[in-house]
């Protein structure tokens, strides 16, 4: 495969994952009888299409539902409503055994590698485990693959016999990546894979993820709160706010000409070297509770471009602006 082009210059057409109106509500129980008194609407009607080979970024503040979304499409949590079509199959409808057959194709990398690697296993066992439980490959095949993977993630064969606690955070994340790659997945959900790491280590992991994508033709759903990381690695980005997508756009366009007021505010909050930009949009307050989200446009309570009653009353739909930019705002 040829060296991939940067960012939005790459083009993808084959749809790998299509999510339609996905919802995940967590019940809130109260009263003496512990009855259901409300819902935390963690993900509330998210639709997106991810193409084979691309890196799709999902960005938002804590509590906006981006991690819940990642867990829902891997079916680590069950969705409340909506469909997730992966490779032609609706995975929300699959039985447990059918889903297990599909797990091989969707793998996930978590934020904190230390807490997702079993401390009682050595690196060889850790990388081998997904292959043993999800495939019927022979031991010889598995061994060969472990040796290839450990070199792919820039560790050496001598490391295989060691337990995970002997490694630094960056090395542990490499092991977690090798583990996710072991079963030849098509889609990798990377949930804040570099947030726990130092910048110099983060740079190494980001480079590694890019190289592996080129080598194995991987598709990433890259979840992060760090806009500069998203900018660096993603082809398209969706900005999430309170369980809904506010804007989706090719990376270059999103950073050059953000459309949604929330995206504008978020981008201007990122500190640059030398301090904040002078015309920073100052957001007041914090994200409202997803248990009782504001009516109409969910962003209207903090919006700097508030128009009037329409913002409070009518929920803005995600509309196409220009060629490939989606935005949910009454301005458009």
């Amino acid at each position: 495969m040829s060296k991939q082009q940067l960012g939005s210059e790459r083009e993808f057409t084959d749809s790998l994952l299509t999510v339609t109106d996905l919802k995940k509500y967590y019940p809130v129980k109260g009263g003496i009888l512990r009855r259901r008194v409300g819902d935390v609407k963690a993900v509330d009607g998210v639709s997106m299409e991810i193409h084979t080979g691309e890196t799709y970024g999902l960005v938002g503040e804590s509590g906006c539902g981006k991690s819940t979304f990642g867990k829902t499409i891997t079916r680590l949590v069950e969705s409340t409503d909506g469909s997730i079509i992966f490779d032609g199959k609706d995975i929300t409808q699959l039985s447990k055994s059918e889903m297990n057959a599909l797990r091989k194709d969707i793998q996930i990398i978590f934020q904190d590698p230390a807490s997702c690697l079993n401390p009682r296993m050595n690196v060889r066992q850790l990388i081998e485990e997904p292959m043993s439980s999800l495939t019927d490959w022979s031991q010889e095949e598995k061994n060969k693959r472990v040796h290839k993977l450990i070199k792919d993630v820039n560790l050496s064969v001598e490391h295989l016999s060691r337990p995970p606690h002997e490694f630094s955070g960056g090395q542990q994340q490499r092991i977690a990546i090798a583990r996710a790659l072991s079963v030849e997945p098509k889609l990798i959900v990377a949930d804040e894979p570099t947030s726990a790491l130092d910048v110099s280590v983060q740079a190494k992991i980001l480079n590694l993820l890019k190289n592996l994508q080129a080598e194995y033709n991987l598709t990433y759903l890259f979840i992060s709160h760090d806009l500069s990381v998203i900018k660096h690695i993603c082809d398209r980005v969706a900005v999430m706010y309170l369980g809904q997508i506010a804007e989706e756009s090719p990376t270059q366009k999103l950073f050059e000409a953000p459309k949604h007021p929330y995206t504008k505010a978020l981008l201007s909050s990122v500190p640059k070297i030398g301090g904040f930009q002078d015309d920073r949009i100052k957001l007041q307050g914090t994200v409202p509770s997803p248990e009782n989200p504001p009516s109409g446009c969910r962003y209207h309570t903090r919006c700097q471009e508030y128009i009037g009653e329409i913002c409070e009353e009518e929920v803005p739909k995600l509309k196409t602006i220009g060629e490939d930019n989606l935005c949910a705002c009454h301005h458009y």
């Binding site: 940067l6 960012g7 503040e61 804590s62 630094s168 955070g169 960056g170 130092d198 910048v199 110099s200 280590v201 983060q202 740079a203 190494k204 980001l206 480079n207 890019k210 709160h225 806009l227 500069s228 990381v229 900018k231 660096h232 950073f255 505010a265 978020l266 981008l267 909050s269 990122v270 500190p271 640059k272 070297i273 030398g274 301090g275 904040f276 920073r280 100052k282 957001l283 914090t286």
Partner: protein, 345 residues
């Protein structure tokens, strides 16, 4: 006037199994009404330095085996626990990274904010309460009276961090040590907290040691920058000098490895290898094993001194042998700066 001066501070941790040298000769000064930004990656000893200023390192295992911490001319290391208690929380206050862990979950916010005042000042409870409400308001918590009666868990991360800042500022300390105060927060909340710290600094004339790994964040608030690596300060400069050019090879590599929003590079430049840990007092330059500009044996054997290379602006110090020739020239033709430094040492 120099408010705080660290002179050749060494901290090691002794356990039965091993001894780890965490801080290996840190020197820096904080002037009155100045913000010093301390930058470094995890494991570089920046938090250990902060905790040793506050006298909060448990000993054993911690052992400050060399150096001085001078606060207004007094060496804090010589003070008894009782004397130290008169200073910390009163004249020197600290903000921690994770407010959820630093606030007591079983005490109401009001009690925790009033506590430093009731401990250090002769003040009635009613006055302390009034003062606490005022400071919570100043820290951007509009509904202070209600918040006083709540427990930490019912507040969001950003609000908890504001409570911690209020707690630290209630005694109007002359020095505030902030250890990664915005790392646990979202960018929009981080921007709010940074604005708050900047305003408070102007209102209260507080000096600050601002510790972080996030260079963009620190560059907005600091007057001076100190870069730490493996328990040593490798470069110090004013913020303007630092932004213009970095002298030490480590600082140069670190700046390159940050993904920038305006940047379109395909691969991020990286620093090969990992931060070393030391089981003895390190010899030579601590960055030698990873340095892209490694010169030879002098890097391994001789510890470079923190000083100003001739071409550099005044006050821009670095500890690296690549500027060695320039050092010699500085010695033969001493500038005011180097004379001042020699006298201090």
């Amino acid at each position: 006037m120099t408010l705080l001066e660290l002179k050749n501070l060494h901290v090691r941790f002794k356990t039965r199994a091993e001894t780890v040298y965490a801080v290996n000769g840190v020197n820096f000064q904080v002037e009155e009404n100045q913000v010093l930004g301390v930058i470094g990656e995890s494991g570089c000893g920046k938090s250990v330095t902060a905790l040793s200023i506050m006298g909060l390192l448990p000993s054993p295992p911690a052992d400050i085996h060399q150096g001085e911490i001078l606060y207004k001319g007094t060496n804090l290391l010589d003070l008894s626990e009782k004397e130290l208690n008169r200073i910390r929380g009163n004249e020197i206050a600290m903000i921690y990274q994770d407010p959820m862990e630093a606030l007591n979950p079983s005490l109401k916010i009001g009690f925790q904010v009033m506590e430093p005042l009731l401990t250090h000042r002769d003040i009635s409870k009613a006055d302390a309460r009034e003062r606490a409400i005022k400071i919570l308001n100043e820290c951007g918590l509009a509904d202070a009276e209600r918040i006083m009666g709540q427990y930490p868990h019912s507040l969001s991360g950003g609000m908890q961090q504001r409570v911690m800042i209020a707690m630290a500022l209630i005694t109007e300390p002359s020095l505030l040590i902030a250890d990664e105060p915005t790392t646990a927060l979202d960018v929009t909340i981080q921007a709010q907290i940074m604005d708050l710290l900047d305003n408070l600094r102007n209102d209260f004339n507080t000096s600050m040691v601002f510790i972080t790994h996030d260079i963009p964040v620190v560059s907005g608030i600091s007057d001076r920058i100190a870069v730490m690596y493996a328990g040593k300060v490798v470069e110090t400069a004013t913020v303007e000098q630092f932004m213009e050019n970095q002298l030490h090879p480590y600082t140069q590599s670190l700046m390159k490895s940050i993904p920038k929003i305006g940047d379109t590079a395909e691969e991020l430049p990286i620093i090969e290898g990992v931060v070393p840990t030391f089981d003895q007092n390190p010899k030579g330059c601590v960055f030698a094993s990873r340095c892209p500009e490694y010169l030879g044996p002098e890097c391994d054997n001789e510890t470079p001194r923190l000083s100003v290379p001739t071409d550099a602006a005044q006050g821009h110090e670095t500890a690296c042998h690549i500027y060695a020739d320039e050092y010699l020239e500085t010695v033969s033709k001493p500038t005011d700066q180097t004379i001042a430094q020699t006298e201090e040492k």
